[in-house]
Amino acid sequence: MTDYLQLAQDVVRRAAARGVEAEAIVVDEHETQVRVDGGQVEQLAQSGSKGLGVRVIEGGRVGYAFTSDLSPSSIEETWQAAASLAKVATADEYRALPDPQPISQEDLEIWDPELPQVPIEDKIAFTKQVEDAALAYDPRVVMTNRCTYQDVIAHIYLANSRGFAGTYDRTVAASFIIGIGRDEGSQTMAVGLDASNFYRDLNAQAIGQEAGRKAVEILGGQPVQTQTGTVVLDPTVSAEILAYLSMALTAEAMQRGRSFLVGKLGQEIGSDKVSLLDNGRLKRGLASAPFDGEGVPTSASRLIDEGVLQNVIYDTYTARIDGTVSTGNAQRDSHRGLPSLGPSNFYIQPGTLSHEELIAGVDRGLYVTNIMQTGGIDPINGDCSMGASGLWIENGELVRPVTGVTVATTLPDLLQNIVAVGADLRVVPFVGAIGAPTIRVEGMTIGGK
């Protein structure tokens, strides 16, 4: 077997001999995907691929090149292409590679030794169970769509010319299904999904049932009157909103005026129910790793503490600008791009109320189980508007399905108006790994009839 760490180190050594800083990453991945429809395997894909990415920094100017061809001549061309691109970039004194730091040997539990041994037949059987569970949930779940199982077995090798050399292995198994509900005159769809580093942690029943339940419970839904009121957000919905909020909590967004939270550091920006954390070292965290995309050890940061904005996440570049240290948040999902600053395992600290208690405490309001939006939640200007469906709450009871409404607020108002946070934290594999429980928010505009 090729020693890819050695390969990465050789590349940076050769580039460094020309007087530039260099970093090389090799990603070696194996993927499996199974898709089932009507009890039959519809798609089955299995493959391996690998590639090299090289970042060159010369006088604060960055160039990057990547290739899937690891022949000696291609490797040579790749780092030279990166070096020649650096010449057109703008010099920026803060652009530099990080110095090597000790990497903890703590087991983050991101490698499932069993996954590479799981036979494809088992994965097919698992995918069929997901579909069966959705269809068995209720006779009104008439079919499913894109019932998929997917896994990735990845080996990451990273080296830089300041002497960093590191490698780690990770596994991810995920499953996804769309349930289609139908009764007289009404058709709905809803998603069930889950992901884990460990194959055995995936629960086919739970994934299928979630899609079935969410599709059936909104059958026959109608819009409500336009009004301002209380909204209870399902964990999957809270997580989607948090994913956009996370984009406003990076040092880059702050430094470049791309965040509605610019200038708010140290200030109260939310209710005391809101504490937000980013933790790249969470055990069995989908986004956990011993070091980040540029070789900096990952860490845990408390970004919002009981409503007060305490910190933002950093990579090496943004930390140098602010005169601080990187939080290890340079993300990199393949060798095909530069590291970019983003959240790792990002989650709102759960409260003590159960999901049922959160709903029981509402006189009149909307329990939102599904949102549709693209660009309606804006981490730059703070707008927050989305299409929604779910169940109407009256005197603490879920009384009837609601579809075809919008719910809107602004992100600053949303943070201030979070009045209760549930204990039912759930990690949703959406834009990294975002965790959220059920959340109750006051004062949202519900747009309907």
Binding site: S47, S49, T67, D92, T226, R258, M372, S385, M386
Partner: protein
Amino acid sequence: MIPEDTATRVLAAALDTGGDLAEIYVEDRTSLSLRLEDSKLEHAVRGKDRGAGVRVLFGPLAAYAYTDDLSEKSLLSAAQAAAAAASGKGKNLVIDLTHQPSPLEYPVVKPFDSLTVADKAQILHRMDETARGFDAHVSQVIAGYGELRRRVWIFNSEGLYVKDDRNIVEVRAMVLAQKNGVIQRAMEGFGGQMGMELFDAHDPMNLSLRLAEAAVKMLDARPAPAGEMTVVMDSGWGGVLFHEACGHAMEADFVSKGSSAYTGMVGQRVASPFVTAIDDGTIPGRRGSLRFDDDGTPASRTVLIEEGILKEYMWDLVEARRMNRDSTGNGRRQSFRHLPMPRMTNTYIAAGPHDPEEIIRSVKKGLYVKRLGGGQADIAKGDFVFSVTEGYLIEDGKLAEPVRGATLMGNGPEVLAEIDMVGNDFALDPGMGMCGKGQSARVSVGQPTVRIPRLTIGGTDEEIAGAMGL
């Protein structure tokens, strides 16, 4: 990229276990992307990505294996991996590959390298200066340039051998403006399937100026209303609404499984008589155009809706074989790492009879949508949601003040049936559309100005809607 005799042997190996059809998809992609922010060109990335996938169709199953190593040994092992999913007897087919040229021409007049990387970087720097020079409130500029060449070779066990060469170039920018703690932004781009002649037709500085003006204008926007209103959508990019809310539901995978609102509706009235909708993968210069789709089927022009009557869906090879009919050339894949699926190419609503000025004049109170952001639709029911990135109230037939934070929500099939005015000002978008359906694909959209009598607006201002008697 791979010799024909190698392809023949790999296809034979792929059919060794009784598959119905075997295919090799070879792709070689080279890319350059540049990005400027904070007046600094800071991302300069070149990429080379090459590989091949072997697909075996066996009854309802598509088995696939890909590799980034194009040696015969590696391709044979991919063929065996894909073949392992089938369980029949080998057919010993004689495979006679015949190269089939395409009559379609998508010329690259000025090749990518007719401008140096430094020239391209300079364009981004000038865009930055132009936007910042427009108004002191402009607070940030992000400008990007991208080029991608995808060369594709497809061989299959029915003797098919085709090639495509797709050259995509694009420029994008986002301008932020800031005043009294309020941040607003405007974002757009242009591009096409061509070379550097893109810059003969489009001036990047005009894009910069337009975005700076829009971002500054939005600083004074009031919160959008909540509730139902009449909506007038601008021509061009506004066609993304049809793409999301109706187009996806006309893709054969959703249709043939019965999960689409349009299943079984061919020949029936699904839209107002003013609506004719077309998917055309053969328009020169457009980013959704193909010579052959990613199944190797020639690209074509498909009339989806003619004067309100549903005529046809969009088919790929797998769905067409399932229904025992021809593909419409809509099978597309993101790369050799993906299986093809039915996708749109360049999809639009054709011109109608109305004067666009008259359409705006006809609205007493409503919303004029100048620029839509992204959108999402639920295929089963046809419900859609879009964010409005630049919108204006219409009062007494005239454009009034800008509004922020608007989401449009409605039902695709209902909206198509209700569209009551269609302008004569048809336009395609400027060429930066990207569609995500599990895999990303470059597409174009288009339409004339259209009027939708009633849509739900999801703003935060309950009072405006109330005051307007809605």
